[in-house]
Amino acid sequence: MATRRLPPLALLACASATGCSGWQSALDARGSGSRALEALFWPVTAALALVWLAVMLVLAAALLRRRRPVPAQAARRSEIAVWAATLATVLVITVLTVASHLTTRHISRAAADPLVIQVRGYQWWWQVTYPDSDGTGAVVTANEIHLPVGRQVRLELSSADVIHSFWVPSLTGKQDMIPGRDNQLTFVAETPGILRGQCAEFCGLQHAHMALLMVVEPPAEFEAWLAAQRQEAAPPAGPMLRDGQRIFEQRPCGACHRVRGTAAAGEIGPDLTHFASRGTLAAGVLPMTRGAIAAWIADPQTIKPGNNMPLVPLAPDELQAVSAWLASLR
């Protein structure tokens, strides 16, 4: 629960807990896919390191050995040595090929009833849709994916503009999002926690700032979160928040962003209905605090140059009201 209420703190805690390996690391397996990959990674690395070491040792021996006259059977011996080494190479790579094939098969085994989530890449943010499975309405959010722990998940990946690549290294390997093609990714998140991912295919000016969070929760918490997300935005409490909503609706903000339950129904930018429930804003650039929201609205092009959010001129009190209202959208 705490993780959900205090996301920025949670992020920091997460970052410090995992220490150097980071919270976006291929060697910090928290999912079925990445665990299988890690299980493949270490033996392969060890085997290849040994091969390298062996070659280096032989090379060193070749350089350092005492020089004697070349024996008569040198050519024969060399030939045997070279062919034996080549045969060994063939063996090693055959084993590795088979191992990697088995891992691929293991990873992509599909379950009967996965949780389906649609993720669509935009320059430079992620749209996340939980399709309407039981008539209670679809949930659209951005830059943060909540998952139940232990359940198989299928992400349906698509792109709205250029090629992006979905990568949360602690969960599983990456998969490209390609215009005109449908890709998917299947995995099980195995431990609760917050994981970070980021776009892995170069996608333009702000490729560096296209991150997302994966929030892995116990199933009950996940269901509660999903139910909360289905709700419309709560009506503003107090005059300042009311002002904030009005300004948001009347100024260009509402032309791009949707906040369900208000007149803001834009389709271009991320859905902000439960904006403040997310851990970060602007696809992982800033922590979700009221101050950061104000800073972002005040000058998005300095914080994330080239992104598609324009600098909307607002008076200081307007800015305060809008950011307060946005910070109240939980």
Binding site: A255, Q301, T302, G306, L311
Partner: protein, 183 residues
């Protein structure tokens, strides 16, 4: 050999000179300025419009910026994006017109100059053209206006964006003349 070096140096100097000459033209077209200072953005709104709402004088700051909205490839491509994002197609299609007038037939009800297009978008026009003043920022309206002017131009513009990555309904923007019939 020494002469060769001297020629190399000469060639380099010439390259630098040519670069300097080309630099102005190229920079203007290729620069990607993503941020407009708020005072500049505010000044961009200071157009003087003729009383009949047709034609007028662009704000001084527009010239001072080097008229980027008509000649800068990045600004034009942003305008193209806004054209799609803000639903211009619902009335103007891809420029051929629908319930709204065509933008590529060479006929401009309010004149072909940038200021008129800017004012049309900003303030709206009678018979259904809505005002976008509260939906776009000033520089976005300029981007859109610049793109629309290029769309309707009679000669292909080297800075113009080309076709879109979606089903085509008319030739690409850079295939002039604009009035060419769709096929």
């Amino acid at each position: 050999m020494r002469l060769g070096v001297r020629i190399k140096l000469g060639a380099r100097r010439m390259a630098i000179l040519t670069s300097a000459v080309l630099a102005l033209a190229a920079c203007e077209r290729e620069e990607r300025s993503t941020r407009v200072d708020p005072p500049v953005a505010a000044a961009l709104d200071a157009v003087a419009v003729m009383p009949n709402g047709i034609g007028g004088r662009p704000p001084e700051v527009h010239a001072a910026l080097g008229k980027p909205y008509r000649s800068n490839a990045y600004q034009l491509s942003q305008g193209k994006q806004l054209y799609e994002w803000f639903g211009c197609q619902s009335c103007h299609a891809d420029g051929q017109g629908g319930s709204g007038p065509s933008l590529i037939d060479g006929w401009w009800e309010y004149g072909p100059d940038l200021v008129s297009i800017y004012v049309s978008i900003r303030d709206g026009r009678p018979h259904g053209m809505p005002s976008f003043r509260n939906r776009l920022t000033n520089d976005q309206i300029w981007q859109l206006a610049g793109y629309i002017q290029v769309l309707g131009a009679y000669s292909a513009d080297t800075a113009a964006p080309s076709r879109s990555d979606r089903p085509q309904t008319r030739p690409a923007e850079n295939r002039a003349p604009a009035t060419m019939a769709p096929h």
